[in-house]
């Protein structure tokens, strides 16, 4: 089944081959995702971060670098508590972003 985005397996990032369509789909649903500045406030405040490595910053970067597996794993630890939304200086709607991303993953039926 073709969901319009594909996997890029490599430890180096090759932007020529990285499929950005998942990121683009997410940005269509939650445009504030584009304005992340990678400050890390979200991860620092996240209760799940210390025990699971969950980080909105890494999630956003990961889907732009083809690291879909790692992202999925992180997402599974989120409790949707919303602390990250509260601290984000760019007003990224992180909770909605996580939810939308989970939906996109759900739609992909394990293709990612």
């Amino acid at each position: 089944m073709d969901f319009g985005f594909s996997l890029s397996p490599s430890s180096a990032v090759n932007l020529d081959r990285t499929d950005m369509s998942l990121y683009e789909m997410l940005c269509d649903r939650e445009p504030t995702a584009r304005t992340c500045i990678g400050c890390g406030s979200c991860s620092a405040t996240c209760t799940a971060s210390a025990i699971s490595g969950m980080s909105v910053r890494k999630v956003l970067l990961g889907i732009q670098r083809g690291q879909y597996r790692e992202v999925e794993k992180m997402l599974s630890h989120c409790m949707l508590c919303g602390k990250c939304t509260m601290v984000c200086p760019r007003g990224v709607n992180t909770r909605h972003l996580i939810l939308e991303l989970c939906r996109l993953y759900g739609n992909s039926e394990g293709e990612l």
Binding site: A12, V13, L15, C27, P31, R34, T35, G38, K58, R65
Partner: protein, 338 residues
């Protein structure tokens, strides 16, 4: 006393200083080594942060300078200090006495070919920020492809780089890169645009908003990592290596155009000029101000003043404000001689 003030440099700093001095009742004489006025700004197309046309600004300043004695294609040939005034001979043969001097000799753009690893002058599609402004103005540059799919900007070229001989931040190139990236995205909406930065230094009013616009509305990608090396692919594209430091992974991308953000470095002629009138330059080659907080526009020598980027990287509003400040200082100095 003569009431004459020699203004060395006919860029925006020199023009603005001269116009203000004239309004204060003195007689400025502009000495410009090139054949036209306006300095670097005359080469730019649209200005951050509002995309105002550069030619309009230069024209306004040149028009305002109407009636002021201006020597273009001219430099100072010799200068002597005698009885509280300067005797100046110009390269065009003219000579005059003046009571004060304003140095407004501006900056030089870092020569990008010195950073050989970026391939400027070697690869077909590597240009500088200046080349891009000229292309915006003329539309002709064979290095700019007609339908680019991917474009990159390299920040800090020749700035913040001890090996390039410049430790300073050039201040204007982060915001210029964002401006130029937005302009290119508007021209080539399908192109992916990447900015490779070490830090983003967007200090001025509206600059951060410009950055947010680049991210949110234009989809420009910002990658934190300094481009380490550039090569050319077999099909003539530009291949870039950097580290994506936020993910800690090496990153590669091939591009159709690479724009190098060449920095603001000192005008090397400052050193000879400084020696001829006994003022100082700092280790970075920019003129040394009497005080870096309270007296930026004054030298250690009474009667010699500075305006604009000859004392370090500055934006246009900062340059103009300094030019006005220098004019006020000259005015006070000349009044004290009376």
């Amino acid at each position: 006393m003569t009431g004459n003030v020699a203004v060395v440099g006919g860029g925006i700093a020199g023009l603005e200083t001269a116009v203000r001095l004239k309004a204060l009742g003195w007689n400025p004489i502009i000495i410009e080594k090139s054949s036209s006025l306006g300095g670097h700004v005359a080469e730019w197309n649209c200005l951050f942060p509002d995309l105002a046309p550069a030619d309009k600004l230069v024209k306004e300043l040149v028009d305002a300078a109407d009636g002021i004695e201006i020597h273009t294609d001219t430099e100072i040939a010799s200068i002597f200090y005698t009885r509280k005034s300067y005797s100046i001979v110009l390269s065009d043969g003219s000579r005059f006495m003046c009571d004060s001097l304003v140095l407004a000799t501006g900056f030089s753009l870092f020569q990008a070919e010195k950073k050989e690893e970026y391939g400027y002058g070697i690869y077909d599609h590597v240009i500088t920020n200046r080349d891009l402004e000229l292309w915006f103005n003329t539309g002709s540059d064979e290095r700019v492809p007609s339908d680019p799919k991917a474009i990159g900007f390299v920040h800090c070229v020749g700035s913040r780089d001890i090996k390039a001989g410049n430790t300073q931040c050039s201040k204007v190139c982060c915001i210029t890169a964002i401006k130029q990236a937005i302009e290119l995205k508007e021209k080539f909406p399908k192109a992916e645009i990447y900015c490779f930065y070490m830090d983003l230094r967007l200090f001025g009013r509206k600059y951060e908003d410009f950055y947010i616009r680049a991210q949110r509305d234009m989809g420009i990608h910002f990658i934190r990592g300094r481009v380490s090396e550039v090569s050319e692919t077999i099909d003539g594209r530009v291949f870039v290596k950097a580290e994506d430091t936020l993910s800690g992974k090496p990153l590669r991308v091939s591009l159709d155009l690479l724009v190098l953000m060449a920095g603001i470095v000192c005008n090397r002629e400052n050193t000879t000029l400084a020696e001829s009138i006994s003022v100082q330059t700092d280790e970075d080659g920019f003129f040394r101000s009497r005080d870096n907080i309270t007296h930026i526009t004054e030298s250690d020598r009474p009667g010699v003043f500075f305006a604009g980027t000859c004392t370090g990287p500055k934006t246009i509003p900062e340059t103009l404000a300094e030019a006005r400040s220098a004019a006020i200082s000259v005015d006070a100095y000349l009044k004290s001689l009376k």
